[in-house]
Symmetry: C2
Subunit: 174 residues, 2 copies
Amino acid sequence: MLKYKPMAQVSIQPKRCNDPGCRGKHAAAERVALAALLCRERGVQLTKLRQQILELLWQSEQPTGAYELMEALRHLESRNVTPPTVYRSLSFLISQGLAIKIESWNAYVPCVHPERGHDHFLFLCSACRSSVEVEDQRLSGVISQAAGSMEFRPQRRVIEVEGICKRCVSAGSI
Amino acid sequence: MLKYKPMAQVSIQPKRCNDPGCRGKHAAAERVALAALLCRERGVQLTKLRQQILELLWQSEQPTGAYELMEALRHLESRNVTPPTVYRSLSFLISQGLAIKIESWNAYVPCVHPERGHDHFLFLCSACRSSVEVEDQRLSGVISQAAGSMEFRPQRRVIEVEGICKRCVSAGSI
DNA sequence: ATGGCGTTTGCAATGTTATAACGTTCTCAA
DNA sequence: TTGAGAACGTTATAACATTGCAAACGCCAT
């Protein structure tokens, strides 16, 4: 069961990150504050509901399913919450680049770097069910080039590599 | 509704294809014959059911959903066919590299080059719902390299680029 | 051919993920 | 303050996929 702790409300200074090699090591509260900032800049609303869902995603150790988020919300709000509520907020977060759907798992993760418009790929560990978001310029290059040679106009990329992460290989969980 | 025509039973000479730039221009019957050959070589059974599903995939213009395949089978066999029947056969075909699941569409396509163990990516046109399977050495390289630098052991790759294909761009279906 | 054994399929039920349709409430600007 | 668009609530249903168990099939050693 996904747990929720309300995040600090004040004095969080959102910072844009420029390190392409960072492995997403950011404080959740800071990233949520950044999301709020970006939404303000863009003139879109990070409503309470949307922020709650974003925080739940950040607080989860692992990619989270929509129905799991729904359960968590039910406890948060002490009322019934239905699928459209969750899916609409997820759509919003995804459209704003604040969350990502992992297509091969039907699960959702917060996007670590919404402030960059980059292509990312996801490494998914099937042993510990963790995901890591990675930015790669060369990947974008290869895809753009292949698309160009076919005169294909790309709009959305899904790049997911499932396997065993370093930790789990060491732990012998192969 | 997906149509089915039984494929020629005789005199099909399956051929392995070595053209990395081929865009999957192969006769369906020849590809099914090749699948049968590969299964024989591997000591696994391409049963009637499995072959029917593979043929349906080849005969479909577009990626096909499991329930659509189920409907088509019902008409073929004039009896009820249930989801597990279809999903089990799809699992088999996928495990043998004879079919591919398109994760972002929950749909299935035949794999054009089961005889090669390559990484492929898929270009998906959201206008005409077509898919094209492409092999790319550089892509595999970029992913392997990124994985290596994280000491991640990749097992399965999902690479799907959705957008608008050449035909649909020309046709102005943007 | 026959019996044994692993593989494949049939079938009913159920689980999981996602959206449609429609009405209400909220927000913000004129 | 009121009107228009955005966001949300609610009911229902669509779409996709799996579990569990039993029957049939295929293969092969006897």
